[in-house]
Amino acid sequence: MPGIWTILRVTLREGIRRRLLLALGGLSLVGVLITAWGYAELPNLPGGRGATGLETDQLQLIASQLLILVMFMFSFVLALAAVFAAAPSVAGELETGEMVAVLARPVPRRSVLLGKWLALAIVVVVYALGATALEFAAVLITTGYHPPHPIEASLYLAGEGLVTLALAMALSTRVPPVTAGIIAMLLFGIAWVGGVVGGIGAAFGDPVVGQLGTVTRIVLPTDGLWRGAIFSLEPGSMVLAGAAAGPQIAAFPFYASAPPPLVYLAWSLIWVAGMLAIAVVSFERRDL
């Protein structure tokens, strides 16, 4: 695809020159430091100091739950960054006119679109892996807790970012930047709430409400991948306790009883590829 690497490089350069990467990296580092301070204070909580083995378990359980909450924050930041980087990348440049001069070159539109997506995908993946690695290091150093599947957790978060990125990019080929951003964020939020409501349905034995979560996870795989991240971060004791608690535990939004099946991961990949294909067709058919 001629031009794809040129567009990729120039998009990355734009991220650097416009200080997007600096803001993302710098503020995330601040977030990690603040949470590290919080973790470090955990052993000083009343009843925590001089803990026996049981108390150490408690500490690790609390640390794991806090880690999941912090990761939820990172997944939200990741989705937000992906949406607000992707939404103006096509629509914004079409509005200002920057895109016209580029598309008048012997470059297929799919090269422009996919070049931009790939550049932002690199940012999303590097950010997801970097921010989570720092957070895992912080929690390990301060509390001694290490999640059972850290790499998988990071990859699930990166996957969530890539799904959001593809969605925002597709919307950006047809609707103005602000609208594309708002639609993508709303869908991200609806998918998460759909998962929570589905969990409540499963907990209280209502199959119709329970199905809602399944449907939203298929329509937009962000929540399904987030559940994978939760499972990767939970200590074994939490999973066992959850299983012993019965079906009602499904109502708890920060608990996952199992990782997403392989077929779901395959579906997520197909979903991203399909959304990019839709974005390409939509962009190629658009009159400028």
Partner: protein, 304 residues
Amino acid sequence: MAATSPVVEFHALTKRYGRTTALDDLDLQVDRGEVFGLLGANGAGKTTAVKVLLGLTRPTSGGGSLLGMPFGDPESRRRVGYLPELFRYQGWLTGGEVLRLHAELSGLAPERWAEEIDTVLATADLRTRADDRVSTYSKGMQQRLGLAVALLGRPEVVVLDEPSTALDPLGRHELRGTIRGLRELGTTVILNSHQLTEVEQVCDRVAIIHLGRLLAVGALSDLLVAGGIRLRAIGLSPAAEDELARAGEGGLERDGPWLIVRGATEEQIPELVEMIVRSGGRVYGVELMHPTLEDRFRQLLGSA
């Protein structure tokens, strides 16, 4: 490809946006090496025609070719330079970096980049600002950068869509010189403009478009309406008006209080004044009119 083969051809090209017809059954051809003017009022369809030929917009029906390839084929744009009407370049890049980006995208051999970029920077008078970010450029400088982008790599066809809207008088003069220089190099130039004097001064052939329809096309000399003599006179009898109408080759026209004896020459001025005075009329003013495209343009738009 033969030296005289058309560089651009539109065949029965129609473009509609909803219920608005931007181009209506356009048949047009631009030959190699000519400076071709697309002339029309705002909203006439000039920019749509250019966007269709560059593959930026798809026609509703009909089609055409650019350098022998169908519209929309990315390869057809390899030897084309384009300055859009809405010129905007990446503000976070320097002027030199914008040109480098376009050199890369146009498929220019990397060993030619430095020389080509330096040449077009000189043409656009931007050499001293090449290392400054585009966001610091004035509007006129951004339009000159757009011209530099369009000329990069010595393209066979240069499409300039309203290229002087942000330029000062000196910049416009230099632009006309650049276009004439391109003609001398054998480059085909398509100039979209609603500035008649600009088109008059540089174009070999002109097409006049109105509401998406082609009203006239031809060599500039064929389209220019003959000049004439403008007279401000009162008290003319119908017989004297008939006599005046016969004096010029193009008949008699009225323009407010003025009469225009179309086709009359400077040598006829005393004779025309005498004619009016003899018939009992009084003359308050006389002007010699040069042949202009504007008159032709107004005539065509008036009849359309």
